[in-house]
C-alpha cells in the first residue's frame, strides 16, 4: 500500500520561502499568480495493515514526527 502525506503551513503562519517563490514566478513573467505557500510531500510505503489502520498509523506519524502541529497541518491520502 502506498500513502501520500502532505504537510502545509497553517493559515496565519508567515512563509518567507513561499514569498520568495512568488517573487521568482513574477520575475519569470507569470501573470495572475497570487499567494504561494510552500509545503512538503511524503510518499510512504506501508505493509501488513488495513487501509483504516494505515490511516490511523499515518496520523500518529504526523503527530509525532512528520508535521510540527504548532505551525503545520497535514493531510493523508491512500493512493
Amino acid at each position: 500500500m502506498k500513502a501520500r502525506v502532505t504537510v502545509t503551513l497553517k493559515n496565519g503562519v508567515l512563509d518567507p520561502q513561499g514569498k520568495a517563490i512568488e517573487g521568482g514566478l513574477a520575475a519569470l513573467g507569470f501573470a495572475g499568480v497570487g499567494h504561494v505557500r510552500q509545503g512538503k510531500v511524503f510518499d510512504i510505503e506501508l505493509s501488513g495493515r488495513s487501509a483504516e489502520q494505515a490511516r490511523a498509523d499515518l496520523a500518529e506519524m504526523c503527530e509525532k514526527l512528520l508535521a510540527n502541529t504548532v505551525i503545520e497541518n497535514y493531510a493523508i491520502e491512500i493512493v
Binding site: V13, L14, Q17, N68, V70
Partner: protein
C-alpha cells in the same frame, strides 16, 4: 555545579559549550551521546548548537526524538536546569518542552553576526545574574531562528514572563515575533535561545558578555 552536554550527530558547538562551562564553573562538564537512555546526576543539561541530522525534515526535529530526549524530559520535570542554544532551542520546541517553533529566517539567509540582547526576565537561574533590562552583546549563527507562536500562546508566554531575552536596538536578525530571542518554560528551569552566549566568554573572543548567563546558572553572582 555539575553539568552535562549532549552531543548529537551534526552538533558543532558542543566543545565551545563545554569550554565555556569549564571556564565559568571551574568544573569540566560530562559529555553525553544522544543514544544514551539516562543522564548522569547533574544540575544542568545542555543541548548545544549545530545542525543535527543536517536539519533534515525540520531543524532539530529528528534529534528531538532521540533516545536521550526522554531522559531530558524527565530531568526537566524534576527541576533540573536544561539549556538549549540554537539547534538546542529548536530541539526543545520540537520536543514540546518549550512553546512555539523556530522557522526559516525572514530574510531567508543564514545570519552570522553579533546582536544585542535585552534581559527581560531575571527570575530564572539563567537570567538572575543580569540586571533587569540589561542589554548585552551576543553572537548568532543560524538559518532557522525566526521564533513563532500563535497569538494565544504568545499572549500567555508574554503574560507569564516566559520571554527571557529580546533582540534589542533593532538587531532582530531573523524576524522573530516580538523580537523574542530566548524563552523559558512555565517553571523557569528550561531555557531555549538562538544566540550563542558560550561564544563570548573570554577576551580573545572579543568580549565576555556571555559569561553572565553561566554565572547565574552556577549561582556565582547575584546582581542587585
Amino acid at each position: 555545579m555539575k553539568s552535562a552536554v549532549i552531543t548529537f550527530p551534526g552538533s558543532n558547538r558542543e566543545r565551545d559549550m563545554m569550554k565555556a562551562l569549564e571556564l565559568v564553573t571551574g568544573k569540566a562538564p560530562l559529555s553525553v551521546w544522544h543514544t544514551e537512555t539516562s543522564l548522569p546526576d547533574v544540575d544542568l543539561v545542555v543541548l548545544p548548537g549545530g545542525f543535527s541530522y543536517g536539519d533534515y525534515l525540520r531543524a532539530g526535529a529528528i534529534a528531538a526524538r532521540s533516545p536521550v530526549m526522554d531522559a531530558v524530559r524527565d530531568a526537566a520535570s524534576r527541576g533540573v536546569l536544561v539549556l538549549g542554544v540554537c539547534n538546542g532551542f529548536q530541539m526543545l520546541t520540537e520536543a514540546g518542552l518549550l512553546p512555539g517553533a523556530l522557522m526559516r529566517n525572514a530574510g531567508l539567509t543564514f545570519v552570522c553576526r553579533e546582536v544585542k540582547l535585552q534581559t527581560v526576565n531575571r527570575t530564572s537561574a539563567f537570567t538572575r545574574a543580569f540586571t533587569q533590562g540589561q542589554v548585552w552583546r551576543c553572537p548568532v549563527a543560524h538559518h532557522d531562528g525566526n521564533y513563532f507562536a500563535d497569538a494565544e500562546t504568545l499572549a500567555r508566554i508574554e503574560g507569564e514572563g516566559q520571554v527571557a531575552f529580546r533582540y534589542a536596538d533593532g538587531t532582530n536578525p531573523n524576524g522573530s515575533v516580538n523580537h523574542i530571542a530566548g524563552v523559558l518554560n512555565a517553571r523557569g528551569n528550561v531555557l531555549g535561545m538562538m544566540p550563542h552566549p558560550e561564544n563570548l566568554v573570554e577576551p580573545l573572543q572579543g568580549g565576555i558578555d556571555g559569561r553572565t548567563l553561566f554565572e547565574g546558572v552556577a549561582g556565582l553572582t547575584e546582581a542587585a
